[in-house]
Symmetry: C2
Subunit: 389 residues, 2 copies
């Protein structure tokens, strides 16, 4: 918040409210998700008629510890104060991006005083950032910003126009002869082309890493990873339906992935060699990245598998043959990260054991927590600075 604007706000409220669209409801005259000086966070919710108001978030677990991600989030009772305002203040929190919701008499609801939400599959969740550490990497700063475009490419293989997000780094427009490397960044089964951009904070992370000199300027391509879905929910001719999981034919996505690469290399100023292409993804997108990079061993020198869906049914003979070709022309970086509480931990372990048994070189990072965005943001933040150097 900018304190200098508060007085102006007070003076303008009457006048300005007449200019806004007539809202269905007046906004509650409260602030919530306030980050205090000691990094504790205060939530407020007006509900004079409620019998109970609770908060659930990924900042506190059932054993009272903080910062463990979304696994075992505890439901915390808020306390009713004057005028029916329920309140709760956390312990001081580590710098991170956090999610939360309220429970009002047992019914989940978002915070009406903090309208920042992201949709994950069919659920909206409130968000806030505690600054002063890792959270700063997920926050917009006064640094040069890249452009983020939602574009539609035509896939000849899938016979459809499909939507994707493309980030071009700051300076792309001002340097019309400069070429850039490309990171293809893939989402998980419940996601779509918007998820890395929104919940994953990928463009903000890249802006910040590039401004800090930690990552080289690169183009970031975030396609939709479902062959049965041309665009994120609400962005296609399916309209405003309730999002559901789409079932894709095995390898249909991977087989048609070069339609995306070809579109990008035709329409953006990119390098077009293996040394300037990276592919990474989370969960299902990690499986996609493993498969695609192995199917096209001359295309990607950098591979990032974030909590990847690999090895769950063993490794097929085709995949073994592809991996063999891929590692004969060893990629510069084959990077695997997973949380120690991830339900895919076992299958990723099997996959690593196979790589080990074959002498294929990779790097491995293990973090705490489960199959959660907190980890995927960390993995991107560690992976991106390693690229194209």
């Amino acid at each position: 918040m900018k304190g200098k604007f508060i007085l102006a706000l007070a003076a303008m409220t009457l006048c300005a409210s007449a200019f806004a669209q007539q809202n269905l409801f007046p906004s509650q005259d409260l602030k919530s998700a306030i980050v205090n000086e000691d990094k504790s966070v205060t939530f407020n919710f007006l509900a004079p008629k409620a019998h109970s108001v609770q908060i659930v978030g990924d900042f506190q677990t059932t054993d009272g510890s903080t910062n463990a991600g979304m696994v075992n989030s505890s439901v915390i009772d808020m306390k009713e104060g004057e005028g029916g305002v329920w309140t709760y203040t956390t312990a001081p929190l580590e710098s991170e991006l956090y999610s939360y919701l309220f429970m009002v008499d047992g019914i989940a609801t978002i915070d009406p005083n903090h309208p920042y939400v992201f949709r994950d599959f069919a659920t909206l969740t409130n968000l806030f950032v505690v600054p002063g550490g890792r959270g700063d990497l997920y926050s917009v700063h006064d640094v040069p910003h890249g452009s983020v475009s939602a574009v539609w490419y035509h896939s000849d293989g899938l016979k459809a126009d499909r939507r994707m997000n493309v980030y071009t780094p700051a300076g792309y427009e001002a340097n019309p002869k400069k070429k850039y490397p490309v990171l293809y960044l893939l989402h998980g089964m419940g996601g779509d082309e918007d998820e890395w951009k929104n919940f994953g904070r990928a463009c903000v992370i890249l802006d910040n890493l590039i401004a800090q000199g930690k990552a080289v300027p690169m183009i970031l391509v975030m396609p939709n990873g479902h062959v049965g879905m041309s665009a994120a929910p609400g962005e296609s001719s399916w309209g405003y339906y309730k999002p559901y999981h789409v079932n894709d034919a095995p390898l249909a996505y991977e087989t048609n992935f070069m339609d995306i690469v070809n579109y990008v290399e035709k329409n953006y100023r990119t390098y077009t060699d293996k040394a300037h292409r990276a592919i990474a993804g989370l969960s299902m997108g990690g499986g996609h990245s493993a498969n695609i990079s192995a199917m096209y061993p001359d295309k990607f020198d950098y591979v990032g598998l974030f909590s990847p869906g690999v090895g769950m049914k063993g490794i097929s003979d085709d995949m073994k043959a592809n991996l063999k070709k891929q590692f004969q022309k060893a990629p510069k970086l084959y990077w695997i990260g997973i949380g120690n509480a991830d339900f895919l931990y076992g299958s990723v372990k099997s996959y690593r054991e196979y790589l080990d048994s074959m002498g294929y070189k990779y790097e491995y990072t293990e973090t705490s927590g489960g199959h959660i965005w907190k980890n995927w943001r960390i993995y991107l933040s560690e992976f991106a600075p390693r690229l194209f150097k």
Copy 2:
């Protein structure tokens, strides 16, 4: 919804849910905002402990009529059925885009079973579209889609990097020598650069009008209209604050507007003459459009004032002098639209009377309803086909 996917969904649910990020809450196993065959709409909400659940939306007014926009929306009691599912079905509705929220024991909450929301100022509201008429213009169809980019330009005048959205029509990439006309589309006092794109459906409307041959392919530029705000809430270094109204110095925006035009004409393939520039806006942005087009009488041949903030304190001598210059070089189209229940109706009437008294030619459209997005979407849909022909 695509019926053919439902079975696949049922089969995949168990497996797929394991792949999604572990959500704070399981989604309710319900659908809501279901458009029925007769164009009535059914809402469902699971709340077994609630004493009352109500719905408020812009589809029904206090006198029981439908489709009057947000003025006098009535609060409607929902009926509790089996298992604590509250339900309500509307009368058949005209084809439109509608907004709604639930009231649970008096507390406003969004619909957890229909995760399409748009933020207007500090409030989130659910949305749905009834097809078969005007609503179709606001829905994504299988037509060629333009690209939508969030870009940052530098304003020398305001000494700041500022964010805007730019729509380039389908075919822009495929026709690298073609030039395009530009419509600058400005938001109101409670808005930001995202509002026309999101709530206003401007890019979808343009996609559809162009595909129908009703509008010529054009670039759409949606800048932020507050000099005290570099980007929409959540997209700037202000972080995730509670949005409030920003107070801008008079004419500061208008005086620096050419920084935007110059950036656009440098970085996009545009025509650069008056006949290929249009400017339009709603409410405060209508005032901006009137002022800017009059201050720069050689720049814009098409001017759209949607429920504009003009004439509220009379018309200044400077503005009268500027209007005189503007209409000496008569613009091809000077278009004013307002709802008959708009709180700005009187001041717009005074402004029109001044134009009439001076013999300045304009077109005027009066619709029903108040100061609402329903009208602004209609005005854009009527204005855009008139441009650049």
